[in-house]
Symmetry: C2
Subunit: 272 residues, 2 copies
Protein backbone atom coordinates (compact mmCIF):
# COMPACT_ATOMS: atom_id res chain seq x y z
CA UNK A 1 0.00 0.00 0.00
CA UNK A 2 1.25 3.48 -0.86
CA UNK A 3 2.45 5.71 1.94
CA UNK A 4 1.02 9.21 2.20
CA UNK A 5 3.13 11.71 0.24
CA UNK A 6 3.03 14.45 2.84
CA UNK A 7 2.67 12.28 5.87
CA UNK A 8 2.69 13.79 9.27
CA UNK A 9 2.06 11.47 12.15
CA UNK A 10 -0.17 13.97 13.89
CA UNK A 11 -2.62 14.33 11.05
CA UNK A 12 -6.09 12.89 11.60
CA UNK A 13 -7.45 9.60 10.34
CA UNK A 14 -10.38 10.11 7.96
CA UNK A 15 -13.35 7.74 8.32
CA UNK A 16 -16.38 7.83 6.05
CA UNK A 17 -19.72 6.11 5.72
CA UNK A 18 -23.02 6.68 3.96
CA UNK A 19 -24.53 7.65 7.31
CA UNK A 20 -24.16 6.94 10.99
CA UNK A 21 -23.55 3.17 10.95
CA UNK A 22 -19.83 3.78 10.45
CA UNK A 23 -19.71 5.22 13.95
CA UNK A 24 -19.48 1.60 15.20
CA UNK A 25 -16.23 1.40 13.18
CA UNK A 26 -15.02 4.72 14.57
CA UNK A 27 -15.72 3.40 18.07
CA UNK A 28 -13.43 0.41 17.45
CA UNK A 29 -10.73 2.61 15.90
CA UNK A 30 -10.81 4.91 18.93
CA UNK A 31 -10.45 1.93 21.27
CA UNK A 32 -7.53 0.44 19.32
CA UNK A 33 -5.86 3.81 18.66
CA UNK A 34 -6.50 6.04 21.68
CA UNK A 35 -3.87 8.62 20.69
CA UNK A 36 -5.16 9.26 17.17
CA UNK A 37 -7.33 12.16 16.00
CA UNK A 38 -10.29 11.42 13.74
CA UNK A 39 -12.45 13.13 11.14
CA UNK A 40 -15.72 11.29 10.55
CA UNK A 41 -17.74 11.97 7.41
CA UNK A 42 -21.36 10.68 7.23
CA UNK A 43 -23.02 11.27 3.87
CA UNK A 44 -26.45 11.53 5.48
CA UNK A 45 -27.94 13.46 2.53
CA UNK A 46 -27.44 10.38 0.34
CA UNK A 47 -27.92 7.53 2.83
CA UNK A 48 -28.48 4.64 2.14
CA UNK A 49 -25.80 3.75 -0.41
CA UNK A 50 -27.07 0.16 -0.56
CA UNK A 51 -29.92 0.98 -2.93
CA UNK A 52 -27.86 3.29 -5.19
CA UNK A 53 -26.05 2.30 -8.39
CA UNK A 54 -22.32 1.50 -8.40
CA UNK A 55 -21.53 4.65 -10.37
CA UNK A 56 -23.43 6.87 -7.94
CA UNK A 57 -21.68 5.34 -4.91
CA UNK A 58 -18.30 5.72 -6.62
CA UNK A 59 -19.10 9.34 -7.37
CA UNK A 60 -20.05 10.12 -3.74
CA UNK A 61 -17.02 8.19 -2.40
CA UNK A 62 -14.76 10.13 -4.72
CA UNK A 63 -16.06 13.48 -3.50
CA UNK A 64 -15.80 12.46 0.15
CA UNK A 65 -12.22 11.22 -0.27
CA UNK A 66 -11.31 14.55 -1.89
CA UNK A 67 -12.97 16.36 1.03
CA UNK A 68 -11.00 14.32 3.58
CA UNK A 69 -7.76 14.92 1.67
CA UNK A 70 -8.48 18.65 1.75
CA UNK A 71 -8.73 18.24 5.52
CA UNK A 72 -5.25 16.78 5.52
CA UNK A 73 -5.90 13.27 6.81
CA UNK A 74 -3.03 10.78 6.81
CA UNK A 75 -5.05 7.67 5.97
CA UNK A 76 -8.69 6.97 5.07
CA UNK A 77 -10.93 4.19 6.40
CA UNK A 78 -14.02 3.39 4.32
CA UNK A 79 -16.43 2.34 7.06
CA UNK A 80 -19.27 1.59 4.63
CA UNK A 81 -19.72 -1.94 3.26
CA UNK A 82 -21.21 -0.78 -0.03
CA UNK A 83 -18.50 1.82 -0.68
CA UNK A 84 -15.82 -0.69 0.41
CA UNK A 85 -17.14 -3.18 -2.15
CA UNK A 86 -17.64 -0.91 -5.13
CA UNK A 87 -15.32 2.08 -4.66
CA UNK A 88 -12.13 1.11 -2.78
CA UNK A 89 -10.21 -0.04 -5.87
CA UNK A 90 -11.12 3.11 -7.79
CA UNK A 91 -10.14 5.37 -4.86
CA UNK A 92 -6.81 3.58 -4.38
CA UNK A 93 -6.00 4.03 -8.05
CA UNK A 94 -6.90 7.69 -7.98
CA UNK A 95 -5.61 9.01 -4.66
CA UNK A 96 -2.09 8.95 -3.20
CA UNK A 97 -3.08 8.01 0.31
CA UNK A 98 -3.46 4.66 2.12
CA UNK A 99 -7.11 3.63 1.92
CA UNK A 100 -8.58 0.87 4.12
CA UNK A 101 -11.90 -0.84 3.62
CA UNK A 102 -13.99 -3.13 5.81
CA UNK A 103 -14.57 -6.21 3.62
CA UNK A 104 -11.06 -7.72 3.44
CA UNK A 105 -10.21 -7.52 7.17
CA UNK A 106 -13.52 -9.21 8.12
CA UNK A 107 -13.00 -11.91 5.52
CA UNK A 108 -9.44 -12.62 6.69
CA UNK A 109 -10.63 -12.88 10.29
CA UNK A 110 -13.46 -15.22 9.25
CA UNK A 111 -11.02 -17.44 7.36
CA UNK A 112 -8.79 -17.62 10.46
CA UNK A 113 -11.76 -19.12 12.35
CA UNK A 114 -12.58 -21.66 9.63
CA UNK A 115 -12.72 -25.30 10.85
CA UNK A 116 -14.26 -27.18 7.89
CA UNK A 117 -17.80 -25.91 8.50
CA UNK A 118 -19.13 -22.88 6.66
CA UNK A 119 -18.63 -19.14 6.84
CA UNK A 120 -21.89 -17.18 6.96
CA UNK A 121 -22.38 -13.62 5.80
CA UNK A 122 -25.28 -11.29 6.56
CA UNK A 123 -25.73 -7.77 5.20
CA UNK A 124 -28.09 -5.40 3.42
CA UNK A 125 -29.81 -6.44 0.22
CA UNK A 126 -27.18 -4.72 -1.90
CA UNK A 127 -24.15 -6.07 -0.01
CA UNK A 128 -25.39 -9.65 -0.37
CA UNK A 129 -26.44 -9.12 -4.01
CA UNK A 130 -22.97 -7.72 -4.76
CA UNK A 131 -21.47 -11.03 -3.60
CA UNK A 132 -18.43 -9.05 -2.47
CA UNK A 133 -17.77 -11.07 0.72
CA UNK A 134 -18.17 -14.42 -0.98
CA UNK A 135 -15.92 -13.40 -3.86
CA UNK A 136 -13.24 -12.17 -1.47
CA UNK A 137 -13.40 -15.45 0.48
CA UNK A 138 -13.14 -17.49 -2.73
CA UNK A 139 -10.17 -15.40 -3.89
CA UNK A 140 -8.30 -16.00 -0.64
CA UNK A 141 -9.44 -19.58 0.15
CA UNK A 142 -11.29 -21.24 -2.73
CA UNK A 143 -12.07 -24.38 -0.69
CA UNK A 144 -14.16 -22.61 1.95
CA UNK A 145 -17.93 -23.04 1.82
CA UNK A 146 -20.09 -19.97 2.37
CA UNK A 147 -23.73 -19.22 3.00
CA UNK A 148 -25.19 -15.73 2.95
CA UNK A 149 -28.45 -13.97 3.76
CA UNK A 150 -29.71 -10.41 3.28
CA UNK A 151 -31.39 -8.95 6.39
CA UNK A 152 -32.97 -5.69 5.13
CA UNK A 153 -35.13 -5.15 8.21
CA UNK A 154 -32.23 -5.08 10.70
CA UNK A 155 -31.23 -1.47 9.91
CA UNK A 156 -34.75 -0.01 10.27
CA UNK A 157 -35.30 -2.07 13.47
CA UNK A 158 -32.09 -0.67 14.93
CA UNK A 159 -32.91 2.87 13.81
CA UNK A 160 -36.36 2.49 15.41
CA UNK A 161 -34.62 1.41 18.65
CA UNK A 162 -36.55 -1.88 18.54
CA UNK A 163 -33.46 -4.08 18.36
CA UNK A 164 -34.09 -5.65 21.79
CA UNK A 165 -37.79 -6.39 21.23
CA UNK A 166 -39.58 -9.67 20.49
CA UNK A 167 -40.24 -8.35 16.99
CA UNK A 168 -36.47 -8.08 16.44
CA UNK A 169 -36.02 -11.64 17.75
CA UNK A 170 -38.75 -12.92 15.43
CA UNK A 171 -37.28 -11.09 12.42
CA UNK A 172 -33.77 -12.34 13.26
CA UNK A 173 -35.05 -15.92 13.67
CA UNK A 174 -36.56 -15.82 10.17
CA UNK A 175 -33.47 -14.33 8.54
CA UNK A 176 -30.99 -16.54 10.39
CA UNK A 177 -32.90 -19.81 9.96
CA UNK A 178 -30.69 -20.88 6.99
CA UNK A 179 -27.65 -20.69 9.30
CA UNK A 180 -29.07 -22.93 12.01
CA UNK A 181 -29.23 -25.77 9.47
CA UNK A 182 -25.50 -25.36 8.70
CA UNK A 183 -22.49 -25.84 10.89
CA UNK A 184 -21.12 -22.32 10.94
CA UNK A 185 -17.59 -21.57 12.11
CA UNK A 186 -18.00 -17.81 11.78
CA UNK A 187 -20.64 -15.28 10.82
CA UNK A 188 -19.59 -11.99 9.22
CA UNK A 189 -21.82 -9.04 10.22
CA UNK A 190 -21.47 -7.33 6.85
CA UNK A 191 -23.20 -4.10 7.85
CA UNK A 192 -21.96 -1.50 10.32
CA UNK A 193 -25.35 -1.34 12.05
CA UNK A 194 -25.46 -5.02 12.95
CA UNK A 195 -23.13 -5.07 15.98
CA UNK A 196 -25.98 -3.29 17.80
CA UNK A 197 -27.99 -6.55 17.41
CA UNK A 198 -25.05 -8.83 18.26
CA UNK A 199 -26.66 -10.36 21.37
CA UNK A 200 -29.80 -11.48 19.55
CA UNK A 201 -27.81 -12.74 16.56
CA UNK A 202 -25.46 -14.74 18.80
CA UNK A 203 -28.38 -16.27 20.71
CA UNK A 204 -29.94 -17.54 17.47
CA UNK A 205 -26.84 -18.89 15.69
CA UNK A 206 -25.38 -20.35 18.89
CA UNK A 207 -22.50 -19.47 21.19
CA UNK A 208 -19.94 -21.51 19.24
CA UNK A 209 -20.20 -19.31 16.14
CA UNK A 210 -17.64 -16.49 16.02
CA UNK A 211 -19.30 -13.18 15.10
CA UNK A 212 -17.12 -10.82 13.09
CA UNK A 213 -17.81 -7.10 13.02
CA UNK A 214 -16.24 -4.61 10.60
CA UNK A 215 -14.97 -2.25 13.33
CA UNK A 216 -12.63 -4.54 15.33
CA UNK A 217 -11.45 -6.30 12.15
CA UNK A 218 -10.38 -3.15 10.26
CA UNK A 219 -9.03 -1.47 13.42
CA UNK A 220 -6.44 -4.21 13.93
CA UNK A 221 -5.25 -3.83 10.33
CA UNK A 222 -5.04 -0.04 10.63
CA UNK A 223 -3.12 -0.27 13.92
CA UNK A 224 -0.62 -2.73 12.44
CA UNK A 225 -0.12 -0.46 9.41
CA UNK A 226 0.49 2.65 11.52
CA UNK A 227 3.00 0.82 13.73
CA UNK A 228 4.87 -0.83 10.83
CA UNK A 229 5.14 2.47 8.96
CA UNK A 230 5.88 4.53 12.02
CA UNK A 231 2.84 6.72 11.40
CA UNK A 232 1.39 6.69 14.90
CA UNK A 233 0.38 9.97 16.43
CA UNK A 234 3.18 10.99 18.80
CA UNK A 235 1.87 14.41 19.65
CA UNK A 236 1.27 15.38 23.25
CA UNK A 237 -1.46 17.78 22.07
CA UNK A 238 -5.00 16.76 22.92
CA UNK A 239 -6.53 14.58 20.23
CA UNK A 240 -8.99 16.22 17.86
CA UNK A 241 -12.28 14.83 16.63
CA UNK A 242 -14.70 16.33 14.12
CA UNK A 243 -17.88 15.07 12.48
CA UNK A 244 -19.09 16.17 9.06
CA UNK A 245 -22.55 15.25 7.77
CA UNK A 246 -24.18 16.27 4.48
CA UNK A 247 -27.63 16.47 6.07
CA UNK A 248 -28.77 16.45 9.65
CA UNK A 249 -31.05 13.43 9.94
CA UNK A 250 -33.72 13.11 12.54
CA UNK A 251 -32.65 11.23 15.66
CA UNK A 252 -29.04 12.11 14.81
CA UNK A 253 -27.96 12.54 18.41
CA UNK A 254 -29.90 9.56 19.71
CA UNK A 255 -28.71 7.15 17.01
CA UNK A 256 -25.20 8.55 16.86
CA UNK A 257 -24.64 8.18 20.57
CA UNK A 258 -26.03 4.62 20.44
CA UNK A 259 -23.53 3.70 17.72
CA UNK A 260 -20.60 5.54 19.23
CA UNK A 261 -21.33 4.80 22.87
CA UNK A 262 -21.21 8.49 23.85
CA UNK A 263 -22.57 11.83 22.69
CA UNK A 264 -21.31 13.44 19.49
CA UNK A 265 -19.63 16.83 19.65
CA UNK A 266 -18.27 19.13 16.97
CA UNK A 267 -20.81 18.07 14.31
CA UNK A 268 -20.63 20.17 11.13
CA UNK A 269 -23.30 20.21 8.46
CA UNK A 270 -21.73 20.69 5.01
CA UNK A 271 -22.51 20.33 1.31
CA UNK A 272 -20.32 18.24 -0.96
CA UNK B 1 -54.83 28.19 -8.71
CA UNK B 2 -52.96 29.55 -11.75
CA UNK B 3 -53.74 28.02 -15.12
CA UNK B 4 -50.83 26.82 -17.26
CA UNK B 5 -49.54 29.62 -19.48
CA UNK B 6 -49.07 27.49 -22.58
CA UNK B 7 -51.74 24.96 -21.87
CA UNK B 8 -52.51 22.26 -24.35
CA UNK B 9 -55.04 19.68 -23.27
CA UNK B 10 -53.00 16.85 -24.74
CA UNK B 11 -49.87 17.56 -22.73
CA UNK B 12 -48.96 15.00 -20.07
CA UNK B 13 -49.57 15.23 -16.34
CA UNK B 14 -46.31 15.25 -14.38
CA UNK B 15 -46.18 13.19 -11.18
CA UNK B 16 -43.18 13.08 -8.87
CA UNK B 17 -42.09 11.28 -5.74
CA UNK B 18 -38.85 10.59 -3.87
CA UNK B 19 -39.01 7.02 -5.14
CA UNK B 20 -41.52 4.38 -6.14
CA UNK B 21 -44.22 4.89 -3.47
CA UNK B 22 -45.82 7.58 -5.63
CA UNK B 23 -46.74 4.88 -8.13
CA UNK B 24 -49.75 4.14 -5.89
CA UNK B 25 -50.82 7.73 -6.59
CA UNK B 26 -50.17 7.32 -10.31
CA UNK B 27 -52.32 4.19 -10.24
CA UNK B 28 -55.26 6.17 -8.83
CA UNK B 29 -54.73 9.01 -11.32
CA UNK B 30 -54.77 6.54 -14.21
CA UNK B 31 -58.00 5.00 -12.94
CA UNK B 32 -59.71 8.37 -12.51
CA UNK B 33 -58.28 9.85 -15.75
CA UNK B 34 -58.00 7.02 -18.27
CA UNK B 35 -57.48 9.36 -21.26
CA UNK B 36 -54.56 11.31 -19.78
CA UNK B 37 -50.87 10.81 -20.52
CA UNK B 38 -48.41 10.78 -17.61
CA UNK B 39 -44.76 11.41 -16.89
CA UNK B 40 -43.66 9.87 -13.60
CA UNK B 41 -40.46 11.06 -11.93
CA UNK B 42 -39.00 8.97 -9.06
CA UNK B 43 -35.95 10.54 -7.40
CA UNK B 44 -34.54 7.15 -6.50
CA UNK B 45 -30.97 8.48 -6.16
CA UNK B 46 -32.11 10.58 -3.19
CA UNK B 47 -34.82 8.41 -1.64
CA UNK B 48 -35.97 8.67 1.14
CA UNK B 49 -36.84 12.37 1.44
CA UNK B 50 -38.26 11.78 4.93
CA UNK B 51 -34.87 11.84 6.60
CA UNK B 52 -33.51 14.82 4.61
CA UNK B 53 -33.62 18.48 5.66
CA UNK B 54 -36.36 20.83 4.43
CA UNK B 55 -33.87 22.79 2.32
CA UNK B 56 -32.56 19.65 0.63
CA UNK B 57 -36.07 18.40 -0.19
CA UNK B 58 -37.01 21.85 -1.54
CA UNK B 59 -33.90 21.84 -3.69
CA UNK B 60 -34.66 18.40 -5.18
CA UNK B 61 -38.35 19.28 -5.70
CA UNK B 62 -37.34 22.46 -7.47
CA UNK B 63 -35.07 20.60 -9.89
CA UNK B 64 -37.70 17.93 -10.59
CA UNK B 65 -40.40 20.53 -11.26
CA UNK B 66 -38.06 22.26 -13.70
CA UNK B 67 -37.38 18.91 -15.39
CA UNK B 68 -41.11 18.18 -15.74
CA UNK B 69 -41.74 21.68 -17.12
CA UNK B 70 -39.01 21.09 -19.69
CA UNK B 71 -41.01 18.00 -20.67
CA UNK B 72 -44.01 20.21 -21.28
CA UNK B 73 -46.45 18.86 -18.67
CA UNK B 74 -49.75 20.71 -18.17
CA UNK B 75 -50.04 20.19 -14.41
CA UNK B 76 -47.86 18.64 -11.70
CA UNK B 77 -48.91 16.28 -8.90
CA UNK B 78 -46.50 16.00 -5.96
CA UNK B 79 -47.08 12.38 -4.95
CA UNK B 80 -44.63 12.55 -2.03
CA UNK B 81 -45.88 13.41 1.45
CA UNK B 82 -42.62 15.04 2.52
CA UNK B 83 -42.29 17.17 -0.62
CA UNK B 84 -46.01 18.05 -0.40
CA UNK B 85 -45.51 19.28 3.14
CA UNK B 86 -42.31 21.26 2.73
CA UNK B 87 -42.06 22.26 -0.94
CA UNK B 88 -45.53 22.79 -2.48
CA UNK B 89 -45.85 26.43 -1.39
CA UNK B 90 -42.39 27.30 -2.69
CA UNK B 91 -43.01 25.56 -6.03
CA UNK B 92 -46.38 27.31 -6.48
CA UNK B 93 -44.77 30.67 -5.88
CA UNK B 94 -41.97 29.98 -8.31
CA UNK B 95 -43.57 28.13 -11.23
CA UNK B 96 -46.46 29.18 -13.48
CA UNK B 97 -48.20 25.84 -13.56
CA UNK B 98 -50.96 24.26 -11.43
CA UNK B 99 -49.31 22.18 -8.71
CA UNK B 100 -51.26 19.63 -6.65
CA UNK B 101 -50.08 17.98 -3.45
CA UNK B 102 -51.35 15.02 -1.44
CA UNK B 103 -51.82 16.46 2.07
CA UNK B 104 -54.78 18.83 1.57
CA UNK B 105 -57.04 16.42 -0.41
CA UNK B 106 -56.56 13.66 2.20
CA UNK B 107 -57.26 16.09 5.02
CA UNK B 108 -60.44 17.40 3.37
CA UNK B 109 -61.68 13.88 2.82
CA UNK B 110 -60.92 12.97 6.45
CA UNK B 111 -62.83 16.03 7.67
CA UNK B 112 -65.83 14.99 5.55
CA UNK B 113 -65.92 11.70 7.50
CA UNK B 114 -65.64 13.39 10.90
CA UNK B 115 -68.44 12.43 13.35
CA UNK B 116 -67.21 13.85 16.69
CA UNK B 117 -64.61 11.13 17.23
CA UNK B 118 -61.00 11.67 16.22
CA UNK B 119 -59.05 11.75 13.00
CA UNK B 120 -55.93 9.57 13.06
CA UNK B 121 -52.83 10.10 10.96
CA UNK B 122 -50.02 7.63 10.32
CA UNK B 123 -46.87 8.33 8.32
CA UNK B 124 -43.10 8.18 8.29
CA UNK B 125 -41.09 9.66 11.17
CA UNK B 126 -40.55 12.90 9.30
CA UNK B 127 -44.15 13.34 8.12
CA UNK B 128 -45.45 12.94 11.67
CA UNK B 129 -42.69 15.12 13.14
CA UNK B 130 -43.52 17.84 10.59
CA UNK B 131 -47.08 17.96 11.99
CA UNK B 132 -48.24 18.89 8.49
CA UNK B 133 -51.47 16.87 8.55
CA UNK B 134 -52.49 18.04 12.01
CA UNK B 135 -51.76 21.66 11.15
CA UNK B 136 -53.79 21.43 7.96
CA UNK B 137 -56.73 19.90 9.87
CA UNK B 138 -56.56 22.61 12.54
CA UNK B 139 -56.45 25.33 9.85
CA UNK B 140 -59.59 23.97 8.17
CA UNK B 141 -61.51 22.71 11.24
CA UNK B 142 -60.01 23.85 14.53
CA UNK B 143 -62.51 21.85 16.62
CA UNK B 144 -61.48 18.44 15.29
CA UNK B 145 -59.41 16.20 17.56
CA UNK B 146 -56.48 14.35 16.05
CA UNK B 147 -54.11 11.58 17.05
CA UNK B 148 -51.03 10.63 15.07
CA UNK B 149 -48.38 7.92 15.05
CA UNK B 150 -45.16 7.41 13.08
CA UNK B 151 -44.80 3.89 11.63
CA UNK B 152 -41.17 3.80 10.35
CA UNK B 153 -41.09 0.02 9.87
CA UNK B 154 -44.03 -0.10 7.44
CA UNK B 155 -41.99 1.04 4.41
CA UNK B 156 -39.15 -1.49 4.89
CA UNK B 157 -41.69 -4.27 5.60
CA UNK B 158 -43.49 -3.45 2.34
CA UNK B 159 -40.22 -3.18 0.42
CA UNK B 160 -39.20 -6.58 1.85
CA UNK B 161 -42.55 -7.99 0.61
CA UNK B 162 -43.37 -9.01 4.19
CA UNK B 163 -46.52 -6.88 4.43
CA UNK B 164 -48.83 -9.92 4.69
CA UNK B 165 -46.79 -11.77 7.34
CA UNK B 166 -47.38 -12.23 11.06
CA UNK B 167 -44.41 -9.92 11.67
CA UNK B 168 -46.23 -7.16 9.76
CA UNK B 169 -49.38 -7.79 11.83
CA UNK B 170 -47.37 -7.66 15.07
CA UNK B 171 -45.61 -4.44 14.02
CA UNK B 172 -48.91 -2.88 12.92
CA UNK B 173 -50.58 -3.90 16.20
CA UNK B 174 -47.87 -2.10 18.19
CA UNK B 175 -47.97 1.06 16.08
CA UNK B 176 -51.77 1.22 15.86
CA UNK B 177 -52.45 0.46 19.53
CA UNK B 178 -52.96 4.18 20.36
CA UNK B 179 -55.80 4.25 17.83
CA UNK B 180 -57.71 1.30 19.29
CA UNK B 181 -58.12 3.27 22.53
CA UNK B 182 -59.72 6.17 20.62
CA UNK B 183 -62.93 6.34 18.68
CA UNK B 184 -61.59 7.06 15.20
CA UNK B 185 -63.81 8.32 12.41
CA UNK B 186 -61.07 8.23 9.81
CA UNK B 187 -57.41 7.28 9.52
CA UNK B 188 -55.20 9.10 7.02
CA UNK B 189 -52.52 6.87 5.47
CA UNK B 190 -49.97 9.66 5.22
CA UNK B 191 -47.41 7.71 3.18
CA UNK B 192 -47.77 6.50 -0.39
CA UNK B 193 -46.51 3.02 0.55
CA UNK B 194 -49.18 2.36 3.15
CA UNK B 195 -52.13 1.42 0.87
CA UNK B 196 -50.21 -1.82 0.24
CA UNK B 197 -50.85 -2.67 3.95
CA UNK B 198 -54.45 -1.45 3.92
CA UNK B 199 -56.00 -4.85 4.76
CA UNK B 200 -53.90 -5.35 7.91
CA UNK B 201 -54.38 -1.73 9.00
CA UNK B 202 -58.16 -1.97 8.54
CA UNK B 203 -58.31 -5.25 10.50
CA UNK B 204 -56.56 -3.64 13.47
CA UNK B 205 -58.36 -0.29 13.64
CA UNK B 206 -61.75 -1.85 12.87
CA UNK B 207 -64.07 -1.89 9.85
CA UNK B 208 -65.91 1.28 10.90
CA UNK B 209 -62.83 3.50 10.47
CA UNK B 210 -62.57 5.11 7.02
CA UNK B 211 -59.05 4.71 5.61
CA UNK B 212 -57.89 7.58 3.43
CA UNK B 213 -55.11 7.10 0.88
CA UNK B 214 -53.30 9.91 -0.95
CA UNK B 215 -53.96 8.51 -4.43
CA UNK B 216 -57.75 8.46 -4.58
CA UNK B 217 -57.99 11.73 -2.60
CA UNK B 218 -55.73 13.78 -4.89
CA UNK B 219 -57.06 12.11 -8.06
CA UNK B 220 -60.59 13.39 -7.41
CA UNK B 221 -59.27 16.94 -6.94
CA UNK B 222 -57.19 16.74 -10.14
CA UNK B 223 -60.12 15.37 -12.16
CA UNK B 224 -62.43 18.15 -10.93
CA UNK B 225 -59.81 20.76 -11.82
CA UNK B 226 -59.29 19.42 -15.35
CA UNK B 227 -63.05 19.31 -16.03
CA UNK B 228 -63.75 22.77 -14.59
CA UNK B 229 -60.91 24.30 -16.60
CA UNK B 230 -61.61 22.33 -19.74
CA UNK B 231 -58.10 20.86 -19.66
CA UNK B 232 -58.98 17.21 -20.24
CA UNK B 233 -57.08 15.32 -22.85
CA UNK B 234 -59.34 15.19 -25.94
CA UNK B 235 -56.82 13.60 -28.28
CA UNK B 236 -57.66 10.39 -30.08
CA UNK B 237 -53.94 9.54 -30.14
CA UNK B 238 -52.86 6.70 -27.85
CA UNK B 239 -51.95 7.89 -24.38
CA UNK B 240 -48.28 8.21 -23.56
CA UNK B 241 -46.52 7.17 -20.35
CA UNK B 242 -42.89 7.60 -19.37
CA UNK B 243 -40.95 6.94 -16.17
CA UNK B 244 -37.83 8.82 -15.16
CA UNK B 245 -35.69 7.70 -12.23
CA UNK B 246 -32.44 9.22 -10.97
CA UNK B 247 -31.06 5.83 -10.00
CA UNK B 248 -32.16 2.31 -10.77
CA UNK B 249 -32.79 0.73 -7.39
CA UNK B 250 -32.69 -2.97 -6.79
CA UNK B 251 -36.07 -4.66 -7.00
CA UNK B 252 -37.28 -1.75 -9.16
CA UNK B 253 -39.44 -3.90 -11.38
CA UNK B 254 -40.77 -6.07 -8.58
CA UNK B 255 -41.65 -3.17 -6.28
CA UNK B 256 -42.82 -0.90 -9.07
CA UNK B 257 -45.25 -3.45 -10.44
CA UNK B 258 -46.54 -4.14 -6.93
CA UNK B 259 -47.27 -0.44 -6.43
CA UNK B 260 -48.65 0.18 -9.90
CA UNK B 261 -50.49 -3.11 -10.32
CA UNK B 262 -48.73 -3.90 -13.62
CA UNK B 263 -45.26 -3.93 -15.12
CA UNK B 264 -43.40 -0.66 -15.82
CA UNK B 265 -42.37 0.16 -19.37
CA UNK B 266 -40.41 3.06 -20.83
CA UNK B 267 -38.23 3.59 -17.73
CA UNK B 268 -35.45 6.14 -18.29
CA UNK B 269 -32.49 6.60 -15.99
CA UNK B 270 -31.43 10.26 -15.87
CA UNK B 271 -29.34 12.65 -13.82
CA UNK B 272 -30.83 15.82 -12.41
Amino acid sequence: MRLPLLSNNNQSIGVFDSGLGGLTVLKSLETQLPNESFIYFGDTAHVPYGSKSIQTVQNYSNQITQFLLNHNVKIIVIACNTASSVASKLLRNKFDIPIFEVVTPSVKQAISYYRNGKIGIIGTQSTIASNSYVEKIITLSPHIKTVQQACPLFVPLIEENWHKTDIAKDVASIYLKPFTRNHLDALVLGCTHYPIMETIIQSIVGASVKLISSGPAVSKVVKKFLIENNLQNDSTNPKVEAFFVTDLPQKFDELGSQFLGRSLKNVNHIKL
